[in-house]
Symmetry: D2
Subunit: 290 residues, 4 copies
Amino acid sequence: MPARTYGQHATPTTWGAVLAQWGNPLMDAADALSAVRKSSLLVSLAGASGTASALGADPAGLRAALAEGLGLQDPKRNWHTDRGPILRIADWMASVVTALSAMGQTLIGLSASGISEVRFNAAGASSTMPQKQNPVAASALLALGHQMTGLRASLGTAGTHQHQRDGAAWFTEWMVLPQIALTTASALQIAKGLSQNIAPDVEQMQTASAGLGLMLAETLSFALAENMPRPEAQAIVKELCQRAISENAPLPDLARTRYPNLAPDVFDVTRQTGDAPKEARTFAARARRL
Amino acid sequence: MPARTYGQHATPTTWGAVLAQWGNPLMDAADALSAVRKSSLLVSLAGASGTASALGADPAGLRAALAEGLGLQDPKRNWHTDRGPILRIADWMASVVTALSAMGQTLIGLSASGISEVRFNAAGASSTMPQKQNPVAASALLALGHQMTGLRASLGTAGTHQHQRDGAAWFTEWMVLPQIALTTASALQIAKGLSQNIAPDVEQMQTASAGLGLMLAETLSFALAENMPRPEAQAIVKELCQRAISENAPLPDLARTRYPNLAPDVFDVTRQTGDAPKEARTFAARARRL
Amino acid sequence: MPARTYGQHATPTTWGAVLAQWGNPLMDAADALSAVRKSSLLVSLAGASGTASALGADPAGLRAALAEGLGLQDPKRNWHTDRGPILRIADWMASVVTALSAMGQTLIGLSASGISEVRFNAAGASSTMPQKQNPVAASALLALGHQMTGLRASLGTAGTHQHQRDGAAWFTEWMVLPQIALTTASALQIAKGLSQNIAPDVEQMQTASAGLGLMLAETLSFALAENMPRPEAQAIVKELCQRAISENAPLPDLARTRYPNLAPDVFDVTRQTGDAPKEARTFAARARRL
Amino acid sequence: MPARTYGQHATPTTWGAVLAQWGNPLMDAADALSAVRKSSLLVSLAGASGTASALGADPAGLRAALAEGLGLQDPKRNWHTDRGPILRIADWMASVVTALSAMGQTLIGLSASGISEVRFNAAGASSTMPQKQNPVAASALLALGHQMTGLRASLGTAGTHQHQRDGAAWFTEWMVLPQIALTTASALQIAKGLSQNIAPDVEQMQTASAGLGLMLAETLSFALAENMPRPEAQAIVKELCQRAISENAPLPDLARTRYPNLAPDVFDVTRQTGDAPKEARTFAARARRL
């Protein structure tokens, strides 16, 4: 299928590599989860001033016991106005939502009329336009990403406490932290359902990749540059591309007519996908290990 | 010195515990640095489409060599539109700026006229008001915190790429990532200078802590509750506090007159600071190990 | 050309209506400019405390004279920590950047490979891929929109001053307000250049609009509903659409075969654009009056 | 009472001038409300593509009738993806929340222990510390301001639609716009209650203003500068201030001893408040006209 930069066909890639781009940051998040839990899911028990002065003879023991009872970590100190642990949990959640939001953003692009390399097996039927199948879940993922951006801006402001308890910072945290967790949970739930309904249209991907062969322009340009200065090679390829478009003639045909000695695989799309298949296989193996 | 919640004297704490609150998140950031470097300071070399298709026979070897040459990590994959590594670096920088911003915010409060528990040995002289010594560096730290909030909102939006390269997301990253690094560096530089010029006013701290002894109200209330129901103890202490204020009489005197058997240390401010001294010593030891 | 909802062909619209959607908010901003200037481009002259106590016998006269000298409005009061005027100017600038950002966002979509209803007459040539013409200026507009989101988050935080001058709020304003003005100016400059280089591809728009006639599904459904219950009409149209797609047969042909009495203009795309032509003409007249 | 810059006593002001600073932006918002309603509370009726193609023979008439029925303005066009009207309403709401947030921020400062120039007649009692009266409502106003910052960042991102309806932008607006309205309403409701409970402590304000007379340093410096170069005057005043602090002697006494001919009103705090009383009276008159 075409890889797109700036929304435009660039060079060939594979559907598996796209899935690996979406999935690897989620795997990274899964890998990081245990460290986040350890560093940031901390018990807090130190009274209003963070000194534990009213917590009896052994506040450290009490804190440790509470941590054990609640299944939280004991930081062995009173973190109190240090909101670092809260912010790290939100950072981790944002890493998940950002990854899902990018998946949604790309699915909106791939399902667009005129591109249509992806369909959805369910949902998204328009109420009045039966020809449409709206990428509703993908749009919701992107919207949750936009919402997360704002929520974290508020939480960031709330990270700065004055003195031993800052009412405004505290209240802000109360208002946005639950929403941050809900946004993350919604994004995961929507993404799970969506993942089961993504239907890649292989035929459409191949048709788009073939086209006039213009995605092979870069490859052709590197191939020609083996026998001439690169600027000259680029100028020739540019001219051939323009002819291909104006004459609606495949670039490979025009190129082979002019340079009959070109290596056979220069225009084999499936051999021009570079690391894409390897990236996909590596990701699949990683996902299976989860 | 008084611990303050909502800006109001709550219970006693110590200057060392305040320093520990400021310093511990910075120590956490220092501890986390090596993991962030390893997980996120990654070489990126995969061409416009993220497939490395034009990078010769051994793109993985080339990437590894480039990583070594630049002193970066080799992620052994093409992370490309996965902006997780960039976001994690920005998250780490934000953890530093937030910690310094909280220090600035509290120093503004502690240096305020009428509180004056902290002065600064240098700078901040008003151009026309010689009696003032403005907390300029502290204010700059808080301002850099506000700036960081906005920068990260922009960077968060840029975390969501469409297809294999999203021009708008890419450009946004170019615009805000250098500023995020500069904001962090400025905050660290300002904080370093500021730290050498913070002059705690011990006498003023003690005067504020003593006052009418009202900060010991909670302690008194817990002490009385050993011999009566807590609501009754709280009602009595509330009444004694009101008398202390209206008669400008120290709470300990009023309480001892009424309850001569109160333990001697109930009104010893230095014995009511709970974990504060321990927190300070633990932090000092941690800092020395850096 | 196709109107798109969720990125998918919905019903027909016109290129002029698209331009009107981009241009009308800019015209609104131009219309609002004079009121913003009057309400918000204010002289400020009141000393550090906002009382003008050191400004001689007639501070109001001095302020008025300074306003006249600088070409600013005299608010006839000391606005000082009321940052409303600054925020209103930033709100106005954001209205411009948001409008241009939406234009950029849609141009990225319209120039995408597979859609290609818009090309650009200049710039955007890829350094290595001659077939590409990247929507660089359009992407920059969207990136400036993302940057503006963050800048305004910082400025919003700086709108809240404590006491008569809040150093942190003040410094934040200094850091982000110039950047807000530069972002707006850059967006306007880029949009001006871009506007002269947008080349709509009329043929491609018509081809996309025609397709299998599926964009007329809604119209067909309303036409049938004149003679049957709407749910029944919608079910029939849905079935016809599915047949059109699976048989690659135009929807109008399938529909006319089954319902020979359908009004002639039901499938005339140019008559199904509703208000679109009128919106375009009204906007053109408005723009000419500028 | 003292005007404070950077949290420090600067020059004298009045409580009325503080109220005017809080109230004037609210009056500005009230004045602007009718224009916002007219420009932005618009009916929207144009179908999914913004062309009104399925709305019968007279969509303009239908839109006008709907506007009248709903008490909305008829913009006489299909604004559709132009989110300017929505953003302007949010901008207006933010102007209200920012003004209330600044009031909250300053009340937190004025009620702080050691400053205590404002108390609250109700609420805010600490559950365990009877001596405290927490500025809970003021803190809530500031927290709502922090929340608004984030909500508007999300809404700003949603202002950029792609094509004729952008699902992600649309959903984001749905999620954050109701919250923006609720945040504004909450802030207004809290501020209304709070306003009825603010108790300025006039005696404490006067005591703070008097102090060692240091707030009159700037005035003294201007008075001396009438008879000597300003740098010399500033150096002398600086030295006198240092003596005042170290000897705990009032600055006016030290100054009069050295300069017996100083005008009588140089050290009359009530005559050094500049425009403050006028600002308060002008605001009071404005508020009465509401």
